[in-house]
């Protein structure tokens, strides 16, 4: 029979096919159900999944042999098969008998295919649970019938709700261990429903099960005549995740501009919601340019229509300016276009979230700088109380205001997961730090426009016969920053240069008198000082900044605010022991006695600059000779 048109005849075996390909008959028309299992440690999540795989005959003989061997070696079920070992795949997990990372598992029944995210129950791995939830339409929350609703049960239910999962199965597990007692089951269900009423689930289906023995998994249990509801598998088989995405307004983030030759220009991407046909008018959300769809191109031929989930290439009737990251939307159903918005942020990094620090945000196909301008509150996931918070720690969820460096197109997450979600990335380590779900745009920025100025920085600097710059002196308290900076400024002033010295202590008496010394306040302290220093640079001034500035991220933030070459980092490097010996303000003595907390070098870290423009090793040098080194640096850089 004929080959696929991509390939040559030579690639096909004589026997290759018995018949021409026909639509795979008898295959289900239901969409794949992605679900996750969550709940506290030892509630039996891995056992449940292992059992579901086993019952749906997805366990091969060689895997079963390995399972029997592993059960003897690591098992927690005596002489029985430990189904949890089927899914706990990492060595550490099997050794410790816990689940650390999300594992994905696959099975199908006669009715549909399933993708299962098995997520960890331990609190320190909550971020992995949120990761699993972001991909899923349904969640199974397991509860150990002997323990009832635990704090971690409530946390997981809350995370599922925040991540927009509408359907929940409440699996009351280990029901065999409470003698299949209806009263126990009823009490747990009523406890949970009381809590969940405050959340946003559309369906909650409670089922009493025993994952270990298979009660109510695929067949109704003979041990609980009092339960007449569906089995777990029947609930999963029938779960309606319908094509709600097709009903939403059309959204296609442009992934790739396809220009294979001069005659073809197409915009490739995955339709995240809605439907499209040739003749449909589409607008680029941020720019507002509009065109009409001429063709929907795929390798299998042009389509008459395409819908949510399809990966296609659109050709428009005229060339408009479209690049990767743009969002195609209908002109009559546009998203918000904003650079400030409110969102739920879930924090996933050991290092806390600092308002004011610049992060990268990926939303749709765009990645751009973003700053959290305020944390309005964080959520106590046990009782859903709103708490004031200066920062978000690992696994915490808070409502934040965010500000991006340029306008972006956004929808509310509860209306459209794909265009209302984002991740936050560290600018320097590139780690994924957190994830967010957009609530609503903030209007405040739209009315503040930048004033155009005629006399610019270059003009102001020219009149002063100098190049403006920031000399950033960083180092421990007592390292000699201010002494050296003062000498440098005196020399510059004497030579007729226009200078200004910003000193950490002095600024804290005025502009920053509301800030303390916590990590959060230190970040904000430097952010403000950076802005002030930048204004002096705009004024054409050489500004000397003398601040401990312990964090690399903030020093780089200030560096990034001005043009290349305008920021000179000077690391005043005096060993801690020497600083403690000098202790000019008596602060180390107090810190060591515990009278001051968050003191850099004592109970708060100082991140050593990796590539400062000047590394001043102070040992054995006079302040005057150190100042001379700085002046030489300025000459080398053409500042003076």
């Amino acid at each position: 029979m004929a080959q696929h048109r991509f390939y040559s005849d030579a690639l096909y075996d004589r026997n290759h096919r018995e018949a021409a390909p026909a639509p795979a008959a008898g295959r289900s028309s239901l969409p794949t159900l992605r679900f996750l299992t969550c709940g506290s440690v030892d509630d039996g999540k891995s056992t449940l999944i292992g059992r579901l795989l086993f019952e749906s005959q997805r366990i091969h003989d060689d895997h079963f042999t390995a399972l029997e061997r592993d059960s003897r070696r690591f098992g927690t079920t005596g002489t029985d098969i430990d189904f949890a070992l089927l899914v706990d795949g990492l060595e550490d997990e099997r050794r410790q008998g816990i689940t650390i990372d999300v594992a994905y598992r696959f099975f199908n029944t006669g009715s549909r295919s399933f993708i299962v995210a098995d997520t960890p129950g331990h609190e320190q791995y909550t971020r992995n649970m949120a990761t699993g939830a972001s991909q899923c339409d349904l969640a199974i929350i397991l509860i150990d019938a002997r323990k009832g609703v635990l704090p971690q049960t409530r946390r997981h239910a809350t995370i599922c709700a925040v991540l927009g999962i509408g359907q929940l199965v409440l699996a009351v597990n280990k029901i065999d261990l409470v003698g299949y007692d209806k009263a126990v089951y009823d009490r747990i269900v009523s406890d949970f429903l009381g809590f969940a009423a405050q959340l946003t689930f559309s369906h909650i289906t409670p089922i009493p099960i025993s994952a270990r023995f298979g009660d109510n998994l695929t067949a109704p249990s003979g041990n609980m005549a009092w339960y007449t509801g569906p089995t777990l598998m029947a609930t999963l088989d029938r779960a309606d995740i319908a094509s709600a995405l097709d009903e939403l307004p059309f959204r296609l983030p442009v992934q790739w501009v396809s220009r294979p030759n001069a005659d073809f220009r197409g915009y490739a991407g995955t339709i995240v919601s809605g439907v499209v046909s040739p003749g449909t008018a589409l607008t680029v959300a941020v720019s507002g340019r509009t065109g009409t769809v001429q063709r929907i191109v795929t390798a299998d031929g042009d389509l008459d229509s395409a819908r949510a989930g399809d990966a296609v290439t659109l050709v428009l009737d005229e060339d408009i300016d479209v690049t990767r990251g743009d969002l195609f939307v209908p002109p009559e159903a546009r998203p918000a276009v904003a650079d400030q918005f409110s969102a739920n942020v879930i924090w996933m990094s050991e290092e806390p979230l600092f308002p004011g620090r610049e992060y990268l945000m990926r939303t749709g196909m765009r990645t751009l700088p973003v700053t959290i301008t305020a944390i309005k509150h964080k959520l106590d996931m046990g009782d859903l109380k709103k708490l004031a918070a200066p920062t978000l720690a690992l696994n915490e969820i808070g409502v934040c205001n965010l500000s991006t460096s340029s306008m972006i197109a956004i929808d509310a997450y509860k209306e459209n997961r794909a265009t209302g979600s984002f991740i936050l990335i560290d600018r320097y380590s590139n780690a994924t730090l957190g994830a967010g779900m957009i609530d609503f745009p903030l209007r405040r920025a739209t009315n503040i426009h930048r004033q155009r100025i005629t006399v610019d920085k270059a003009a102001r600097a020219r009149i002063k016969h100098q190049k403006p710059a920031i000399l950033w002196f960083t180092g421990l308290s007592g390292s000699g920053k201010s002494t050296v900076a003062d000498l440098v400024e005196r020399s510059l002033h004497a030579a007729g240069h226009h200078t200004f010295l910003l000193d950490g202590d002095n600024v804290r008496h005025g502009l920053n008198r509301d800030l303390g010394f916590t990590d959060t306040d230190r970040v904000e302290n430097i952010r403000r000082l950076g802005e002030v220093a930048k204004l002096f640079v705009e004024a054409g001034t050489i500004v000397l900044c003398s601040f401990i500035s312990p964090f690399a991220a903030e020093r780089r933030m200030v560096r990034d605010k001005v043009e290349p070459g305008e920021f000179l980092e000077i690391f005043v490097d005096t060993p801690l022991e020497e600083c403690i010996r000098r202790d000019p303000k008596g602060l180390y003595a107090k810190a060591l006695r515990g009278e001051i907390t968050n003191f850099t070098g004592i109970d708060s870290t100082y991140e050593v600059p990796e590539a400062p423009e000047l590394h001043l090793r102070t040992g054995g040098h006079t302040a005057e000779s150190l100042a001379q080194e700085v002046l030489d640096l300025l000459r080398d850089h053409g500042i003076v």
Partner: protein, 301 residues
């Protein structure tokens, strides 16, 4: 995408999305092509992703010099038919040291001729992203791997320090020395691969279809005598048997199964009824407990 079940359509679209994202975000991507059925599907998806253009990256095959001759013929013809650049890399140092599956053992052979060779090729060409056809259903430590799997300098994998991967918002940023392995087929199962191969009528290496082949019995499995280099035990005589392979690698390390399934349809029918996994015929995984995780930490795909 006509005639595909909703499940396969979803998988196809998801993979195309991933492949496009890599092409757009990375400086110098490459697609690992192992000639097997998974690679075949991945390559087909890449062709679809950029249609009517071509995939904007080359193919890379790590040749241990012990692949079946049929595989090499198939590889060369695929690259020619699709008009794609094919880079073939062999660890010359390993070759010079005489590493081979018989004397060195499967574990060392794999380490030197596959893992080390792969690292050499990625370093030599400065590839920052490499597609692989691995699937999460293959093996337990694979089930935990991300779609975008960041490798540190030296291509090491740190399973405890993986980036969380939410929605389809892949973090594609890399630090100095870091590279990424990308697995567009993460959510496919062996069954999905065959259903798709059938529905799309993709070509496969003939070794996947049953035919009379010269084999010798080794334990529970059948090893094909593909060329003169095969070491036979004293008194061992190759016999002709109707066999096929469920997964392909170096011929002395790939076990065949007895089968009469000589068409794709028959293969799929046998696979649905199968009671053992496809990796069972692979001698390299049986060597030690958690051996896949160990190999991956060292830089294996």
């Amino acid at each position: 995408m006509h005639g595909l079940s909703p499940h396969i359509r979803q998988l196809e679209a998801e993979s195309i999305h991933i492949i496009r994202d890599v092409a757009a975000e990375f400086r110098n991507p490459v697609m690992l092509y192992s000639i097997g059925k998974d690679s075949g599907v991945m390559l087909h998806l890449a062709m679809k992703a950029f249609y009517p253009g071509r995939p904007p990256f080359p193919l890379l095959h790590i040749d241990t010099t012990w692949k079946f001759r049929d595989m090499i013929r198939f590889r060369n013809e695929i690259a020619r038919a699709l008009g794609l650049e094919l880079i073939v890399h062999t660890n010359q140092d390993g070759l010079a040291r005489g590493i081979n599956p018989f004397d060195s053992g499967s574990s060392l052979h794999t380490q030197i001729m596959k893992t080390e060779a792969l690292k050499q090729a990625l370093d030599r060409h400065g590839f920052d992203a490499a597609f692989g056809g691995a699937r999460r259903d293959e093996e337990k430590s694979r089930a935990k791997e991300r779609v975008f799997s960041v490798r540190g300098s030296g291509h090491t994998w740190e399973p405890r320090n993986q980036r969380p991967e939410l929605w389809r918002l892949f973090n594609t940023r890399l630090g100095p020395g870091q590279t990424v392995r990308v697995f567009p087929l993460s959510n496919w199962t062996e069954q999905d691969i065959w259903q798709y191969t059938l529905a799309e009528n993709l070509p496969v290496v003939p070794l996947y279809l049953a035919a009379e082949r010269p084999v010798v019995r080794r334990g529970d499995t059948w090893i094909m005598v593909d060329d003169q280099r095969m070491r036979l035990d004293t008194g061992e005589q190759p016999e002709l048997r109707s066999v096929r392979f469920r997964s392909l690698g170096c011929y002395p390390l790939s076990g065949a199964i007895l089968s009469q399934a000589n068409t794709l349809e028959a293969v799929v029918a046998e696979m649905v009824a199968a009671r053992t996994s496809e990796r069972q015929g692979r001698l390299i995984d049986a060597d030690e407990a958690a051996s896949m995780e160990k190999k991956k930490r060292e830089g294996y795909f």
